[in-house]
Each structure stands twice: as C-alpha cells, then as structure tokens.
C-alpha cells in the first residue's frame, strides 16, 4: 500500500487547478499546492489577509515582515498581483469570486458537510479564521486531508461528529489514499493509490463509497516530506 505523504497529496490537488483560476489555499497541506502547479499554468493565489496573487516564499534575506500571507509566511507578490484590505478581501471571498478554496479538514460528511475549525482541544481557544467565509462562499470547496486519524478511525463519515465549518459545501477530496467527489448520492471515488482495494478503502471510510466507472490509479511522483 503506497499512501501519499502530505506533499504528494498537495501535488495531486495542484494538478487539478486550471489556468486563470482564483484559488485560496488554507493553512497546512493546502499552501504547499502552489509549489506543484504544472509549469506554465498561471494561477491567481489569493490569501485572505488581502493578497491577490501571492508568489513564492521570500528568499532568505529578502523577506519582508510587512508582506505576509494568511499563514503569516513571508511571501512575495506574483507578477500581476496586488494587495487589498481585509474588508475588500472578504468581499471578494463572500461574493463568490474565489474559484476554488483548498482547505484542510478534520472530517467531511457524505453530504459535503465540513468540520475543520474545532477539534475540541481542552482549554485551547477556538480558531475560526477565514475558513467559514471561504467554505460558505467559494465556488468550489476542495479538501486535502488524511483518509483516517492516526489511530485509523475514518474521517470521511455519514455525519460529522465535530462542530461544522459549513454545511454541504465540499465538492472534492484529496486524501492519502484516494481522490473523491461529493455528489447528491454521496462520496464517489475517482482514483485509489496502488495496492489498496475498493474493499479496503471502504473499510477505512465511515460512509458508503460509490466508485466511478472510470475509477483509476492515484499516482504521484516521489516527493520527500520533511515535515
């Protein structure tokens, strides 16, 4: 069984980003996607603190503490980019001008419910950030997440057990085992990593899986994940 590592998951999701799309990348695995966009494809990476078209991380020595993305990383502005304030940035998000938001998740339900903001850590304060605005209003919500918890419990469920970020919003899911979409019938599997059977994938999932007629193999290049 060839589970993808975190960077490979980001790579796989990045392959589905199309020229000219306006894309918001969430913290964690999603932000790594910008490193794996196919060469020559121009994507507008929006960051909710007001960056329109974030470029690569700033080179050491050239980093500017006044220029950061929503993950507080010191970045650059891509050619053609600009900066707006928070109200304008969320007007853009809320108004449906983000083609895809790629978010991490704790759980996703078969109806597209997303839980990614409150994992119920005792005493730690809640962290909402921009996830609810993005999940509610992006044209498409895609999720990158491990298929199961570290203990092997499924994260793709009939119903979420954790507090929701937004109901019925997730359209596509990239896990370390498979690529799935959320349809009116529930989860549909489009690709599975080599060495995992449909039955094994179903066993790792907390909701009924449907398999696309052209369900294929989820392949990714070797990418070392130091993280």
């Amino acid at each position: 069984m060839a589970k993808l590592n975190r960077l490979q998951m980001a790579w796989r999701a990045a392959q589905d980003l199309q020229e000219g799309m306006v894309v918001n990348l969430g913290l964690g695995m999603p932000v790594a996607c910008s490193d794996y966009v196919p060469a020559g494809r121009e994507i507008i990476f929006q960051s909710e603190n007001g960056v329109i078209s974030a470029g690569p991380l700033a080179a050491p020595g050239a980093a500017d503490p006044d220029l950061v993305d929503a993950g507080s990383r010191q970045i650059t502005i891509a050619v053609g980019g600009s900066v707006i304030d928070s109200t304008a940035s969320f007007a853009m998000i809320r108004g449906g001008h983000i083609d895809v938001t790629l978010l991490g998740a704790f759980e996703v339900a078969a109806n597209g419910d997303l839980a990614n903001w409150d994992s119920r850590i005792p005493d730690k304060g809640p962290l909402v950030g921009g996830a609810m605005d993005l999940a509610a209003s992006a044209k498409a919500v895609w999720v990158i997440m491990e298929h199961t918890t570290r203990k092997g419990a499924p994260r793709l469920l009939d119903r979420c057990t954790l507090p929701l970020t937004a109901p019925a919003c997730v359209k596509r899911i990239y896990t370390d085992l498979a690529v799935l979409s959320v349809t009116p019938e529930g989860f549909v599997v489009h690709e599975i990593v080599p060495g995992v059977s449909q039955a094994e994938l179903q066993a790792a999932t907390g909701a009924k899986l449907h398999f696309a007629p052209d369900c294929g193999v989820l392949l990714s290049p070797d990418i070392a994940d130091a993280g």
Binding site: E48, N49, G50, V51, D64, P65, D66, L67, V68, D69, A70, G71, S72, R73, V83, I84, D85, S86, T87, S89, F90, A91, I93, R94, D118, I121, D123, K124, G125, P126, L127, V128, G129, G130, A131, M132, D133, A136, S137, P163, L164, T165, A166, P167, A168
Partner: protein
C-alpha cells in the same frame, strides 16, 4: 494655522480612553501592528476594555500586553488559539472566566467593522450559517438560501500601523500592513496611526490608501 495631524507623543491623546472602552487593533501575521501605540495604551492603563483584533494572541504583535496587564474584559476576534500546547495569556484568563470571548468568522468580523464605519447597522451574511457560531442569531432566507444577521461593531479607539503619513492624516501601507486598519479607522471615534515616517508635504492623491478624513493623529515611530 493649517491642518496638521502629526503628533510627537501619544500619551496625552490616550487620556480620554475610559474604562470599558472598545479598542480596535490592526495587524495580521506580523504585518500592521501598532506596537508602539499598544504599549502606550498599556501605560495609559484603562481597564475593562473590549479588544477587537483578528487574533487574541499574536506572536509578533503586542496585542497580548493588554491582556497580560489585566486590562481586557472581552475579546472579539477570529482566532483565539495560542500556538503550542501551553496556554497563551489569553487562554489562561479565558479558561479562568476572566475574559469573555466572541469569536467570529474573519470576514464577518471585517464586514461588521466596515459596517460600523459605514453607517450600516446590520447586514446578512452566509458565513457561519449552519454552525455553532451563529447560535441565537437571526437567520433569514433570501433567494432560497439562509443568511445570518450580523450587527455593526463600533469602537472608541483604533490603533493602526501604516508606512507613511502626511499632515492631513493621509496614510500609505507597505505590503500587507493594511489588513483591518482602514476599516478600523472608519469605525472608531478616535483613530491613531503609527507610521515609519511622517511628512508635511501631501502624499500624492493616487498613493493615499487611508484618507486623512478617517485619521485623528499620526505618529512617526521608525522601524520599517
């Protein structure tokens, strides 16, 4: 006597901030924190403040000095979780019931502040609908979709960080310094901006990012 919003010391300007005031602090991810002004507010010492800031706990911004000084009664923010497993100063006081928390979707927070400055008492938004965060709030359907009613947030004092300012109070921002700053300036009775440098000469019209109409005082603090 001409308009001149440049000041050389801020302490006196903060004397009117009373206990129970609502204070808005700009800043996101290390950019746009008015750290000099925040420390001056700590020294001024008003108590029972409502602090409006994107994050209750910043690594690079000094917002938590107000919390550590026990000056904050309530926090309105979108992020209240400190990094790491140990509790942040905010989390300690929140856990102990000393600080009230209102956590909002970041876009809702930004729009509520804009509304406060734009004379909009309330608006409907889709963010948070169907989640625990809107419990008790009015839900209303428009065009077949549910939205939540959110009300304006206004403040007594905004402390903002910019790059350059002129005597009219016009301000520019570098990089992503702006974030919540411009909206906060519009939403507060008193708006003070610390900048790298001030100048008597007017900033060219096309370079102004926060018009001086919304700014009461500007203070040069260096530190670009």
């Amino acid at each position: 006597m001409a308009i001149d919003k440049r000041i050389t010391a801020v302490a006196e300007k903060l004397q009117g901030i009373k206990d129970g005031a609502t204070v808005m602090l700009s800043g996101f991810g290390g950019a746009g924190f008015a750290n000099t002004l925040i420390l001056a507010l700590r020294d001024a010492g008003p108590r029972d403040l409502t602090m409006v800031s994107n994050s209750a706990t910043h690594l690079l911004g000094r917002t938590q000095v107000l919390i550590e000084a026990n000056m904050v009664r309530k926090v309105i923010c979108s992020a209240a979780r400190g990094r790491g497993k140990e509790l942040s100063p905010f989390e300690e006081q929140w856990k102990a019931g000393k600080i009230e928390l209102e956590v909002l979707p970041q876009g809702t927070m930004a729009e509520r502040i804009r509304a406060g400055g734009a004379g909009i008492p309330a608006f409907y938004t889709p963010a948070g609908v169907g989640t625990d965060l809107v419990k008790g709030k009015e839900i209303r359907r428009f065009n077949g979709r549910d939205y939540v009613l959110e009300t304006a947030i206004e403040g007594d004092l905004a402390l903002i960080r910019g790059d350059l300012a002129d005597r009219f109070g016009n301000v520019t921002f570098r990089g992503t310094q702006a974030n919540f700053g411009p909206a906060m300036a519009t939403a507060c009775k008193l708006s003070i901006v610390e900048v790298f440098a001030t100048q008597a000469e007017a900033i060219p019209p096309e370079r102004v990012m926060l018009p001086g109409v919304f700014v009461d005082h500007v203070l040069a603090v260096g530190g670009r």
